[in-house]
């Protein structure tokens, strides 16, 4: 009665057996390498340092302090236990009113108090992952397409496409203008999709951007809004890094932009938010869908049942986020600490000649490793990445996994470690860069020597040959002849 393996897989759905979850990509090799050999300052100092996970651990002390000082907010304490019954039984998909109000207030605050968010439009989901997938279920049918400016978060490939059956067409952004989203690039992507007979339903952007760490300027936002209105397609703004802005320009939510645009059809505008990055609490699984479209809001709310936020968590956060003093202090401290960490890393890299895209937000920076590529191609990028992962033991993320148009860029996360680990990571990168540059300069010296037919001592030659990659030596080289 046992099934053969083939039979077993046939019993499963296409979704369960296809690759659209994206976890078989080389990008996840880095995670596996980290899982198998995790860095620890004392127990495993030569392990892999995780710089591929955008987690914000910089302000845990503030959250911990608040929880300990506010026992009544937790239903598991003497102060709060009388609320336990009501909270434990509460499963209404509207969500606790206090929770929605607190979230709306927090979102307004994060946006610089330029806009008031309506608590009745706050819809829950299980993290931003659940929120992004849900908004797609609401806006598009299987086979439809969304445009996404590249480079983009690799998880979009799974969240937007896997169960929804949608397709993604990237809007290519280039380093020549700091990866800005241009009207021309959007039109280009739209036309490409049309040519392929794809039904474009909308465009989804991340602002602040993952992996770039930049915020969109108002002109670009207005251009986006104008574009979607013209094409009568949706605009989804993933604003989950909104409170990680640590430098000017300030974060501007799409909600603020459309306030001044009378020509905008608000039914096209939708926001995805979460507390996972801004507050560093991904374990709480708080995702928010905020749509200006009533039908979408109603549909998303009914779909909340597939990913409601635990009422215990709602209750705790309702209390925490209503504490104005705490929130103000938290946002200020968080910005300060992110700015400092960002500075330490980017300055440290500058010292060894590595530049990063100028950024003002996010839990990562976008590192330019093009000078270190042996070959200006994606193969060259993956080769460099494997060296960084396996030899330098840093899990950074190669730009190709973000569908970056150009090779040589890497995303490096910096907010998930303590200061000591930062030092270790920086030292490793510095040592690697210098070593690589040495290799390169030795290689070019050797090529120069080869060019001028200079013969050096056999031991030096051997040394030079071993560090050169084989393809560099021409079979007709006098060196080879000399060797034999």
């Amino acid at each position: 009665m046992e099934f053969k393996r083939k039979n077993k897989t046939q019993l499963l759905s296409k979704i369960a057996t296809n690759d659209r979850h994206g976890e078989n990509s080389p990008y996840f090799d880095g995670w596996k390498a980290y899982d198998n050999n995790s860095f620890h300052p004392t127990q495993n100092p030569n392990g892999v340092i995780q710089m591929g996970l955008a987690e914000n651990k910089l302000c845990f002390d503030l959250i911990k302090k608040w929880i300990m000082e506010n026992p009544e907010a937790s239903i598991c304490t003497a102060g709060g236990v009388d609320k336990f019954k009501d909270v434990a039984i509460f499963q209404d998909y509207h969500g606790l009113k206090e929770f929605r109000e607190a979230i709306a207030k927090f979102m307004g605050r994060v946006g610089g108090n330029k806009v008031i968010f309506d608590a009745n439009r706050i819809v829950m989901s299980s993290g931003a992952t659940g929120a992004n997938e849900k908004i797609m279920f609401c806006l598009a049918d299987p086979g439809d397409t969304f445009l996404v400016p590249s480079p983009y978060y690799p998880g979009f490939a799974r969240d937007l496409r896997w169960r929804t059956g949608l397709e993604i067409v990237p809007v290519d952004c280039k380093s020549s203008n700091n990866f800005r989203i241009t009207r021309a690039a959007m039109e280009d992507a739209y036309e490409k999709a049309q040519k392929w007979n794809l039904n474009v339903k909308g465009i989804i952007i991340a602002n602040p951007s993952n992996p770039l760490g930049t915020t969109l300027d108002i002109a670009t936002m207005r251009s986006l809004v104008a574009f979607v209105n013209e094409k009568n397609i949706h605009l989804v703004c993933d604003e989950i890094y909104a409170a990680t802005v640590f430098d000017s320009p300030r974060f501007v939510s799409v909600a603020e932009v459309i306030q001044d645009m009378d020509c905008c059809n608000r039914d096209l505008i939708h926001i995805v938010y979460s507390l996972s990055k801004d507050m560093g609490i991904p374990g709480f699984r708080v995702g928010i869908v905020y749509s200006f479209n009533d039908d979408v809001m109603l549909c998303a709310r009914k779909m909340s049942s597939f990913g409601l936020v635990s009422s215990q968590t709602q209750y705790l956060l309702a209390s925490m986020l209503s504490d104005d003093g705490f929130v103000g202090n938290f946002l200020r401290e968080s910005s300060k600490r992110l700015a400092k960490r960002h500075y330490v890393f980017t300055k440290g890299l500058e010292q060894v000649g590595i530049s990063c895209l100028t950024s003002n937000a996010g839990l990562f920076f976008w590192m330019d490793m093009r000078p270190l590529l042996k070959e200006q191609s994606f193969e060259g990028e993956i080769e460099l990445w494997r060296v960084i992962l396996n030899e330098v033991k840093l899990n950074v993320s190669p730009g190709s996994s973000f569908q970056c148009f150009e090779p040589g860029w890497f995303r490096v996360c910096f907010a998930n470690m303590d200061d000591e680990t930062v030092e270790v990571a920086l030292n490793r990168i510095r040592a690697f860069v210098l070593d690589r540059e040495n290799q390169e300069s030795n290689r070019s010296k050797l090529c120069w020597r080869k060019k001028h037919l200079r013969l050096s001592s056999s031991s030096t030659r051997l040394y030079d040959e071993t560090i050169m990659s084989p393809c560099m030596i021409s079979p007709h080289s006098p060196l080879v002849r000399a060797k034999t």
Binding site: M1, F3, A16, R163, N265, K302, S305, F306, G307
Partner: protein
Amino acid sequence: MRLIVPLQSVVQGRGGLIFGSLIPCALFYFLQLYLKRHRSPKPQSNPPSPTTSSPKLAEMTRTSSRSNLFSRSIEQVRISSRAISIAKPNESPYYIGLDKASEDPYDRLSNPDGVIQLGLSENRLCFDLIEKWMSENLGHSITGRDNGELNINGIATYQPFDGTMELKLAMAGFMSHIMGGAVTFEPSQMVLTAGATPAIETLCFCLADQGNAFLVPTPYYPGFDRDVKFRTGVELIPVHCRSTDNFALSITALDQAFNQTRKHGTKIRGILLSNPANPVGNLLSREMLYAILDFAREKNIHVISDEIFAGSMYGNEEFVSMAEVLDSEDFDKNRVHIVYGLSKDLSLPGFRVGVIYSFNENVLAAARKLTRFSSVSAPTQRLLVSMLSDARFIEEYIKTNKRRLQNMHALFVAGLKGLNIRCADSSAGLYCWADMSKLISSYSEKGELELWDKLLNVGKINVTPGSACHCIEPGWFRCCFTTLAEEDIPVVLERIRKAVENTTDLLNSS
């Protein structure tokens, strides 16, 4: 359609150019106007059908609004076809009743004229025990056992999306205990989800493609229509059970439904069972479980067994889990998947804890990846590990819960009997399945909905009509009694009496 107007004769005449252009333009314009006014709306791609049989009137209104939409389609923004139907106000009495009861909830002291909620299967009978545990174990519940020190890493950071191993271990122990120790559950075969709702949906995504179907015995839990159909594109095919055999499932009926569906070209991927059954409350016998497994193997399909009420037993019958049957016999385990959750047995629906338990490695591998979309909150996991690991508490809870359930069930059913309303035989659940067919004006769905409406708006009690559960016989209602205190029962009975006081059968009962 375009009328090709022969222009030659017009053009050749005097003022030909003017007429040659004006007349066809005018004709074309009037033709477009005519067509616009009389054109029927284009058929849209099939949205999922509403959860219940809605009155014809609502359908007519819907059609005419669709044609208005079409004529303005150039400006109208397009959302997904599923969103169009889901966004509409819920016409199912199941949801309408729930909304009405939550807007005006009954409270013995503060709102004695409010709507009594008998439509939501929630268990409030043992909260005192849980509260007591909370107050005695505060140190452990959120901070973990590190000497009261809050381990923020354990609750704030990313945890495995399919649940922590500690919670899986604790759940495995709890589930085993709940089912009388007859079966051991392996934590490694468990995937935790944010409630049983996403557990069902996730399994559907794993086991079926869009357009496929699951067989489901009726009457069934109205929420299945949402869980299975909202987003997966999978259909539910009812397998009707009847009161003559106490709504027991028969293999013949399964077989007929299977063949009928296949004839229409739809592929059946599995059977969706709830055991203990919701809304009837009866159990599947061991023999029936064997028969279902044989049927599934013969047709090469899956079995999903939703056992969420396994710990809500009040009868004397023994509950037998699918897992127990599989353990004892040589059945192919790869096609069996069990769903469980803490919403019913432990009264914690707000916390959102569900379980997919499968013997199929491929399903587990896929489900683990899918839990990214619906994971359990980390602080909640921490709290529950403490609670479920307290064996003494769990033992006391299970015993007391059963006793109180038995008591409420007996009182409630006896009370209904006093009104000449009999209930189906049941052994578990938080509800009873009441036969009010003698109280309906016409033996039809219409009659049933009229009674439901009277009970809700005149009697101010919310019960779930059988039609919302796809019951083939009109007049049956699901009444949940676990949100009541003993003192509320006479109030409920009085309200039923008042709502139907013109019905002769009721008056003849006493």
